[in-house]
C-alpha cells in the first residue's frame, strides 16, 4: 500500500510541472497585455508598471522566477487589486468554496449511494423506476436552472430559507448545497445501482449465499464494495466538477468564494490571478485525485497489485 501511494505521488509531480508550465506560457502568449484596458495609460506609467511586475524581463527569466516563488508557496501579486497578493485573495475565498464543495459532495454521496442501493435492491420495481427517473431528471437539470428554481420556491414563494450568502443566516447553506450536489447525487445513484446490479450477478455472490449467511450480510460484506468501486472511481471527476460548479452556485447565491474571484479575474484579464488560481485548482485536483485513487486501492486489493506491472 505504501509503495502504491509513493508511486502515485511520484506520478503527480510531472503532471503538476506540466500544468504550471502550460498555464504560464498560455497566459503570456495571450495577445494584449494586462494593462491595455478601457483606460489608456501613458507609456511611462505602463513602463513603470511593467518594471514593477518584472514584465520587462525575458520570458524565461520570468518563468524561473515564477517557479521559484511558487515553490515557496507564493502565487505572486494581483494586477487588478493593487497591493494584494493572490495568496490573500485565495485564503479569503477558499474556506467558503471548500465548505460548499464538501457539503455538496457529502450530500451527493449520502443521497446518491442510498438511492442507488434502494433502486438496485428491486430492479425494475416501482422504487427502482421512480429513483432512476428522478436521477435522470437530476442529470438534465443544470445547476444554474435548479438554483434559481429552488430560490423561487423555497426562498420567495414559501419563504422558508434565505436565498443569499453563506454562513450569515441560519439555513443559508441548505439551498447552495442541494443546488451544487443534485447532479452528482444523480450520477452517483446511477453508478451505484449499475455497480450493485453487476456485482449481484457475480459468482462470488452465489458462493456467499451458499454459505447461508443472511441477505443483509451478503449485501454488506460481499456486494457493497462492488457498488462503491465505480463511485470511488468517479470521485476525481466529481470533485473537479464540484469545484467548477461552485462558480455557478457562488454566482447564483452571491457567495464570496474563490469561484467568484476567478470569474471576475477572467473578466478583468487579471493574468496573475487567473494563472495562480488555475495552478491552485490543478494542484488541489491532482491531490484529490490521488486520494480518490488511494481510496479505490483500499477498496479493492487487486488495484494495489496492478501498478506493479
Amino acid at each position: 500500500m505504501i509503495a502504491f501511494i509513493s508511486w502515485r505521488v511520484l506520478q503527480a509531480i510531472p503532471v503538476l510541472l506540466a500544468v504550471v508550465t502550460a498555464t504560464f506560457f498560455l497566459v503570456h502568449a495571450a495577445p494584449g497585455g494586462p494593462f491595455d484596458s478601457e483606460r489608456q495609460l501613458s507609456p511611462q506609467v505602463e513602463q513603470q508598471l511593467k518594471a514593477h511586475y518584472h514584465l520587462d524581463q525575458p520570458l524565461s527569466r520570468q518563468y524561473v522566477a515564477y517557479l521559484g516563488a511558487l515553490l515557496q508557496g507564493d502565487l505572486g501579486p494581483s494586477f487588478r487589486y493593487p497591493g494584494r497578493r493572490i495568496n490573500d485573495i485565495l485564503l479569503q475565498g477558499l474556506p467558503k468554496t471548500i465548505e460548499l464543495a464538501s457539503y455538496a459532495l457529502l450530500f451527493a454521496l449520502l443521497c446518491g449511494i442510498g438511492a442507488g442501493l434502494i433502486a438496485a435492491r428491486r430492479p425494475n420495481s416501482a422504487q427502482d423506476r421512480i429513483t432512476m427517473a428522478a436521477a435522470m431528471i437530476g442529470i438534465c437539470m443544470p445547476s444554474f436552472l435548479l438554483g434559481p428554481l429552488l430560490v423561487l420556491v423555497f426562498g420567495i414563494y414559501l419563504d422558508w430559507l434565505p436565498v443569499t450568502g453563506w454562513g450569515q443566516l441560519p439555513g443559508d447553506k441548505i439551498l447552495p448545497t442541494i443546488t451544487l450536489g443534485a447532479a452528482y447525487t444523480a450520477y452517483i445513484a446511477r453508478l451505484c445501482r449499475a455497480g450493485l446490479l453487476e456485482v449481484m450477478n457475480a459468482d462470488f455472490i452465489r458462493t456467499a449465499r451458499a454459505k447461508g449467511i443472511s441477505e443483509q450480510a451478503v449485501l454488506r460484506r460481499h456486494a457493497l464494495r462492488g457498488a462503491l468501486l465505480p463511485v470511488a472511481a468517479f470521485l476525481g471527476p466529481a470533485i473537479a466538477g464540484l469545484l467548477s460548479g461552485s462558480f455557478i452556485v457562488e454566482t447564483v447565491f452571491q457567495i464570496p468564494g474563490i469561484g467568484r474571484f476567478y470569474i471576475q479575474g477572467a473578466f478583468n484579464r487579471d493574468y496573475t490571478l487567473v494563472m495562480g488560481m488555475t495552478i491552485f485548482f490543478a494542484t488541489l485536483l491532482v491531490l484529490l485525485n490521488l486520494l480518490a485513487d488511494i481510496l479505490s486501492a483500499w477498496l479493492d486489493p487487486r488495484i494495489r497489485m496492478e501498478y506493479r506491472q
Partner: protein
C-alpha cells in the same frame, strides 16, 4: 432413510421448462455423480437443493433433506440449512471468491454466523480447515486475498469454506473443469479423502464421465432436463440402455478410440512439412535464466497429426504463435517444406503466412461478428489472390463450406445465428481457405459438448488425411489426443521433454512429467 431425496422436481422459467420430473436419492456418506451435457439441467438441479435458483426460476415437486421439505421452506430456515448442513462448490474458482475480502474473512464468516463461534475460536478452526485441504502455509493465508492464489489453491479454499461448518451434504458442480489435469487429480483425491473421513454425502455434477468415474460408483445421466438413466458408472458406460445415454457414451468412447490407426503406417514415408530445430522464443532477456521456449526440436510430416500436450503456462500457445509467425523466434531454425520461415513484416512474406493456419479454442470469439460467413471466408482467398473473378470466389467459398459439411447457402448469414459446433466448422473452413500445409489447432473442441466434439474431431482427421496436410494439435486432454494423434510431444516448462509415437508414449512413458500427466488423467470405466 435417504439424506437427500428429490421427487419429481420440476424447474420452470417463465418461458420454458428446464428440469422435468427429476427424482433421485442420496444416502449418508455416499457419492452420486450427475453426468450431462451443457443445458441438461444438471447445475440447476444442484442449485435447487440449496434454494439458490435464479429469481425468475420456480421449482416444484419435492426436495427432501433429512426429512425436511426444502421447497417452500421459509428463507431463514433454508439459510440455516445452507450454512450448516448442505454446502456447494462451483466450477470457476477464479471468480467464486469475493475479490476484496481476505481469505480469513470469507472463511470465518459462516463459522461465526452459524456456529456462533467467537473470532479467535473461528480463526483457529479456519486454520485447521485450511490445513485439512492442504493449503500451504495456512496461517498467513488468512490475511491474503484470492488473487494471490493459483486456481487449484482457490478451489481448495472454496472447499475449506464449504466444509467449515461440517455439512452432511456437499454438492460439487464441475469443481475441477477449469484446472490442469495434475491439479484436477489432486483436488479429486482431496475430495475423496474428505468425503471418506467426514462421512460426507457428495453430489458430484460433471460433463466428464472419466472424472465422475474417478470419484463416484453410482451416477445418473441427465439429458434435456430429465434423468434418463441411473446405475453404476461402469454399467452406464458399457451397457447403456436409454438411446440418449447410448449416444453420449458412444461419443465419449469414440474420442479415445484410435481413429487415426488406418493412416499411421503410410505417414512415415511422407515428406516432412514442418521442421523445427533448436528453437527458442519469449522475452528478449531470459527471466530467471529461462525463456518461454527453449531447445524445441519438432518434425511434422504430411498427413500427420502430432499432439502437443502440456499444462497451462508450459509454452504451448507461445510455440503456436511462433509457428504462425506472430512472434519471432529468438534462436533456431524453422522450415516449412524445406524453405526457411521468417517472421513476415513485408508483403513478400504474406504467402508464407498463408501456409500455416490456426483453429482457435473458443468458437464464439473466433469469428468477426460484423462479417457475414461468406465475407469471412472470402477475405483470405481475396487477400492471397486465390480467385480471379467474383464468380470463382463464390464457388470457392461454397466449396469450403461443403468441405466442412455445412450448407453452402449459409454464406449470407452472420456468426451469431450459428451454434458452437457450426462456428467451429466455419473457423476450420476459414483456416482451409488459404490452402495451408500446416494446421495448428489449439484445443479445438474443449469448448464444445462431447457429441459435437466427436464430429469436429472426425472432420479434422478427414481433412488432414484428404488434403495431405500436417496438423499440430495442442491439447491438455490426453484421452482425446490418444484417439487423434500419430505422435505426441510433451511440453513442460518451455521444453519438449518427450516425443514419441502416441501408442508408445501412452504405453511406456519415459519422462517423469509424462508419467505424472498420464497418472493424473482420469480414465474411463474399466470393462465389466
Amino acid at each position: 432413510m435417504a439424506l437427500l431425496t428429490l421427487q419429481e422436481l420440476n424447474i420452470d422459467f417463465p418461458d420454458k421448462n428446464v428440469v422435468r420430473d427429476v427424482s433421485l436419492e442420496l444416502d449418508h456418506g455416499t457419492t452420486l455423480g450427475i453426468i450431462g451435457e451443457s443445458g441438461s439441467g444438471k447445475s440447476l438441479s444442484g442449485l435447487a437443493c440449496l434454494g439458490l435458483l435464479p429469481p425468475t426460476a420456480r421449482a416444484s415437486g419435492s426436495i427432501c433433506f433429512n426429512g425436511e421439505e426444502l421447497i417452500g421452506m421459509p428463507a431463514a430456515r433454508l439459510r440455516r440449512l445452507r450454512g450448516c448442513h448442505i454446502a456447494m462448490v462451483f466450477q470457476d474458482a477464479g471468480t467464486a471468491l469475493t475479490p476484496w475480502s481476505s481469505i480469513g474473512t470469507q472463511l470465518i464468516e459462516p463459522l461465526c454466523d452459524h456456529l456462533g463461534l467467537r473470532r479467535s475460536e473461528a480463526k483457529r478452526r479456519a486454520v485447521a480447515m485450511l490445513e485439512e485441504v492442504r493449503l500451504p502455509d495456512p496461517k498467513s493465508a488468512l490475511s491474503r486475498y484470492p488473487h494471490e492464489f493459483s486456481g487449484g489453491q482457490r478451489q481448495r479454499i472454496l472447499l475449506a469454506i464449504a466444509l467449515a461448518a461440517e455439512p452432511e451434504l456437499l454438492i460439487a458442480d464441475e469443481p475441477t473443469t477449469a484446472l490442469d489435469v495434475t491439479v484436477q487429480a489432486q483436488i479429486l483425491e482431496l475430495l475423496a479423502t474428505l468425503q471418506r473421513e467426514r462421512g460426507l454425502a457428495l453430489l458430484f455434477i460433471s460433463h466428464d464421465l472419466a472424472v465422475i468415474n474417478q470419484i463416484a460408483e453410482q451416477a445418473v445421466v441427465m439429458d434435456a432436463g430429465q434423468v434418463v438413466e441411473r446405475g453404476s458408472v461402469r454399467s452406464l458406460f458399457h451397457t447403456p440402455r436409454h438411446p440418449s445415454t447410448r449416444t453420449l457414451m458412444r461419443s465419449i468412447a469414440d474420442r479415445s478410440t484410435a481413429r487415426t490407426a488406418q493412416h499411421t503406417d503410410d505417414s512415415a514415408h511422407q515428406p516432412t512439412v514442418l521442421s523445427v530445430s533448436g528453437l527458442s522464443a519469449g522475452y528478449p532477456k531470459p527471466r530467471n535464466g529461462k525463456r518461454v521456449l527453449h531447445g524445441i526440436d519438432l518434425q511434422l510430416r504430411r498427413s500427420e497429426i502430432v499432439a502437443l500436450v502440456g499444462e497451462s503456462g508450459s509454452g504451448k500457445s507461445t510455440l503456436a504463435r511462433v509457428l504462425l509467425q506472430l512472434i519471432p523466434a529468438r534462436t533456431g531454425e524453422l522450415q516449412l517444406l524445406g524453405e526457411a520461415l521468417v517472421a513476415p513484416h513485408a508483403g513478400s512474406h504474406r504467402r508464407q503466412r498463408a501456409r500455416v493456419q490456426m483453429i482457435f479454442q473458443d468458437p464464439y470469439a473466433s469469428l468477426n461478428p460484423r462479417l457475414c460467413i461468406a465475407e469471412t471466408l472470402a477475405e483470405p482467398i481475396r487477400f492471397h489472390g486465390l480467385a480471379n473473378t467474383e464468380k470463382e470466389l463464390a464457388v470457392r467459398v461454397a466449396e469450403l463450406l461443403e468441405a466442412v459439411e455445412l450448407d453452402p447457402n449459409i454464406g449470407s448469414r452472420y456468426p451469431h445465428a450459428f451454434s458452437g459446433g457450426q462456428r467451429q466448422r466455419i473457423a476450420i473452413a476459414r483456416a482451409l481457405a488459404t490452402e495451408p500445409e500446416l494446421l495448428i489447432a489449439d484445443e479445438p473442441v474443449s469448448a464444445l459438448d462431447v457429441s459435437t466434439q466427436c464430429a469436429i474431431l472426425a472432420l479434422l482427421t478427414k481433412i488432414v488425411h484428404d488434403r495431405q496436410m500436417a496438423m499440430l494439435l495442442i491439447s491438455h486432454d490426453l484421452d482425446m489426443v490418444r484417439g487423434m494423434a500419430q505422435r505426441t510431444a510433451v511440453i513442460y516448462r518451455g521444453e519438449l521433454v518427450e516425443q514419441a509415437d502416441t501408442r508408445v508414449l501412452f504405453a511406456s512413458p519415459r519422462h517423469e512429467h509424462t508419467r505424472q500427466l498420464l497418472a493424473a488423467s482420469p480414465s474411463l470405466p474399466a470393462p465389466l
